[in-house]
Amino acid sequence: MMRIARRALGDFGLPLAVVVAFAASALPARSQTVPERDAIVSQLSQFDSAPELDVAALRQRVLDKSRSRARNEPEPSKRPPIVPEILNLPTFTVDIHFDTDTPVVRPDSYQTVGRLADALVNAQLLPYTFLIVGHSDSTGRREANAILSQRRADSIRDVLANTFKISSKRLQSLGLGEEQFVDQEHPTSPANLQIQIVTVGKVAESEPGQTLAAPPPAAKKGAKAAKKK
């Protein structure tokens, strides 16, 4: 099915060997649905107010918790969320596949990242800043999971900023590891490997002219335009 779709999309010159190799390399268990740009835009544009998020401090808190050796640690599904604030913010959750234990995005997820970029340059989302949140499931070492999820969130931020030139001022990244799950009830679920994009604020309002050199002409032109209208 997937193979047919791929062939139909490409020129028919695509050698069969490539098709087979590609199909074989795709993860069979987790089928990936590529989100539509407009779905991302409408979800992430429903933003009311900005909470105070100190991302650097949060990163540290995740690391500290992931190293915690306390005897009375709750089991994974009972861990209190480390950033409850983001639970109430506009969030879009996407399936992005990475190479095992690395932050390298697999080709079968390129389109998804491209769609994210398409959404982020859309006029409706231009005024906002975003937090890219990485997670992990509860298998493996807790600290390694925290570190890997941070590297993966960084990786998505880098792709958006470097490949698609989304202003890095609009993007922050945070790896929550297994300190806060996507699916709290099921800490081992693959749903916890997803990446979340969260609208966290508005682009800093630097009044045109205030930081730039020439405020008076800009103001004058504005006044004229208002009169003409």
């Binding site: 791929r6 999309l9 995005v105 990242v113 398409d118 006029a123 409706q124």
Partner: protein
């Protein structure tokens, strides 16, 4: 000779008709349709044409336009023909869409200043206004489409 001449005239008439029938902006869209891909489409093209080649030859290289392009060109003699013919086209489409943002500042100068009270130095601040404003020129609208703002 005569037949050839008739053909030439017919072709010229056809071209002229074609040119008058469709406005210039529509034509550029059509001619450039191969290049004007969304980021999602361009990314899908890279994955579809080069996914296997990337997995085989560029392991550990992230979806970074420069590094990936560099890796694929370094492996140009072993990658598939499909990949070879598509990857530059796809990355060029991404690049063109990024550069089109500068085009908005040029094509929409009047609108940015007069309709949106903004500055062309910070075009992106005016985009939400521009997409809603009345009386935006066709050129400006086209430029916003090329940049993926609408």
């Amino acid at each position: 000779m005569v037949r050839g001449g008739t053909f030439l005239v017919a072709a010229m008439v056809a071209t002229a008709l074609g040119a008058t029938a469709t406005p210039v902006w529509a034509q550029t869209t059509r001619i450039g349709s191969a290049e004007k891909m969304t980021f999602g489409d361009a990314a899908a093209l890279v994955a579809q044409s080069c996914g296997a080649d990337i997995e085989a030859n560029c392991r550990g290289v992230n979806f970074d336009a420069n590094r990936l392009r560099e890796c694929l060109s370094r492996n140009t003699d072993v990658i598939s023909a499909q990949c070879r013919s598509d990857y530059l086209r796809a990355f060029d489409a991404i690049q063109r869409r990024i550069l089109a943002r500068v085009g908005v500042a040029n094509a929409c100068t009047r609108e940015i200043v007069k309709l949106c009270n903004g500055s062309t130095k910070e075009t992106s601040k005016s985009i939400p206004c521009l997409t809603r404003a009345q009386g935006v020129s066709r050129n400006c609208t086209q430029a916003m489409d090329d940049a993926g703002y609408r």
